[in-house]
Symmetry: D3
Subunit: 132 residues, 6 copies
């Protein structure tokens, strides 16, 4: 199995609901360094998993739509705790939508899976992986 | 599949028995930067894999019990080579015990697996992963 | 010249005032990975720059007081843009106060300088250094 | 499952054929930081996955044979795009050959799999994993 | 003293002339991860060293002009060994030109210095710093 | 001013004497990732600060002499606390000796300074810099 990963980041504000979050129930924020991995059983005729230029653009578009925002005010997340885990799935699902829509080029149709890791600090991160 | 990872570290002395270890048969030491990952198929009602505060505490308790010690003198490792691989399994198994004992909170019962990576330098590391 | 550096982090929300900040004028947030360096011309009798345990505690206390907060609501920053540069100076000045107050132990009196770096992402950071 | 990873690097020139590569169709180059992982279900009698000294030597020999070269002129790659993905597979397959040839020591025969990651920058990398 | 640093990268081919370079006399290549630091004694009225958005753009323009090229064919480097040190100075001097030309905004005139680090691998890098 | 840095590492055991060290008074150990920087005002005729191949060899020789040892038993450190700061100075002074002895090549005579950083974990490091 092959995979290719590209990195971007986003800086957001949010608060989390639930006693388990302790002080993170207050409005605070995070820089998420976002690693998006695309996997595929065999390479295409060019010898690649996916057009990395398109992958970078698509990822930047997805994280850019959330960047410099207070996620508490983003309608898509109404009623949802925007935990690192939830955001990793959100980015992965948007990437899957993009792959199916052809935004990653023709090779996007042959991807086996997508994995997204959001690093919230030098000591904590979360990942979500899914098939395509 | 979702996962959450937290990082801690420990600084220990030890020696290794066996010709394969060359100069590492002498008493020496290591800083292990320890990454503990918890995985789970679906998030809980709070939108998390595990209470990250508890995960940090439990990991710190496990590595803290080994920190600043000569592992050659630790009874639990008598007759065992404390290789990076062995220590990765040791930490993972202690984390699994903690999950079963409820130390990670009620969500610990729904974890699918645990993976532990010990980085011994900028150019070498070992991992162990197991189901729960 | 010797120096010792310890790392911690904080996760905050804030907004910045001024056209130069573009979308960062909106309420958003950041994880700052904070590196605090203490320098000294000669080591003390124990062979150290500063008691690293105390340095870690003092730094944690300073960043902990800002963690999980919206800096727009913190009285100390009223009328001030909480840029990465400004926050680096804030942390360095609090560390200097702590050194003078003896919170770093007796060796704190012999420190030559303090430098603080705040990493806001994998591609941007800011530093402030000052004499003591 | 256990794994051990060692890191090395190589600095090469190459060009890529195909419109998808844009400016990378021109002769340019890369530093690849190469992570080679060896996995195994159970540890050997010494408590290790593989003799790490031998693993380091074998990896160094493989990347050393490509280092400081223009891959466009390397006969083994004639007619092949030397993408990061292709090179990850090349290194993994050479490591598998070495394991089967006994170059990793007797433990090489018990390896379950090999994974190779080539980091081409701080924001992009590719991996290939295979069974043994 | 304050400083702000931004990171970008470039992937180039080149060869080096001189016995001291050993195998690097052959045509090979490198990824340079480029850190550009701007320093200033006092912050401006917005609380910043420099407009970071402009700094990112200017740095990207400078490294982009070298990216995906064989430096042996770049007229500006005719007769010059494009060592990591030489390239660090080249980038720093272009940044200084940009600061003086106003490309970094009005604050560029108040910069005290520029430092550039080029990381050629995980185990080697070179820096050049200069006054403005 | 130019500088070039190379990275190596060493894994040692030791204990520290003095109440300030708390549990680190016990026999324990560390991996030190060692960064050695060489600085120089002007580049030599080849366009370099120092022969990086020789610098790597000299550094490896110095850290290799300490690797896989219990520093409590190394005669050179008798009566000395082998703190991270002390070891940074030790490595820097050995590098200075090597420069003066010609082990870094003829360019060693033109070096302005040497700086050494020892990273003992992902959250703590110490440095020593000196003129030549």
């Amino acid at each position: 199995m092959f995979s290719v990963t590209v990195r971007d980041h986003m800086m957001i504000a949010h608060s989390l609901r639930g006693d388990v979050f302790g002080p993170a129930q207050q409005l605070h924020g995070a820089t998420y360094v976002v690693d998006a991995s695309f996997s595929r059983a065999e390479l295409d005729a060019d010898g690649i998993v996916v057009d990395i230029g398109r992958a970078i653009e698509v990822l930047h578009s997805i994280v850019g739509a959330l960047s410099y925002r207070n996620l508490d005010d983003v309608p898509e997340f109404a009623g949802t705790n925007t935990t690192t885990e939830v955001l990793a799935k959100f980015v992965a699902d948007r990437l899957a939508d993009s792959a199916r829509a052809g935004d990653l080029g023709p090779g996007g149709a042959d991807l086996a899976g997508i994995a997204v890791t959001l690093r919230e600090s030098h000591v904590a991160w979360a990942s979500y992986e899914r098939a395509l």
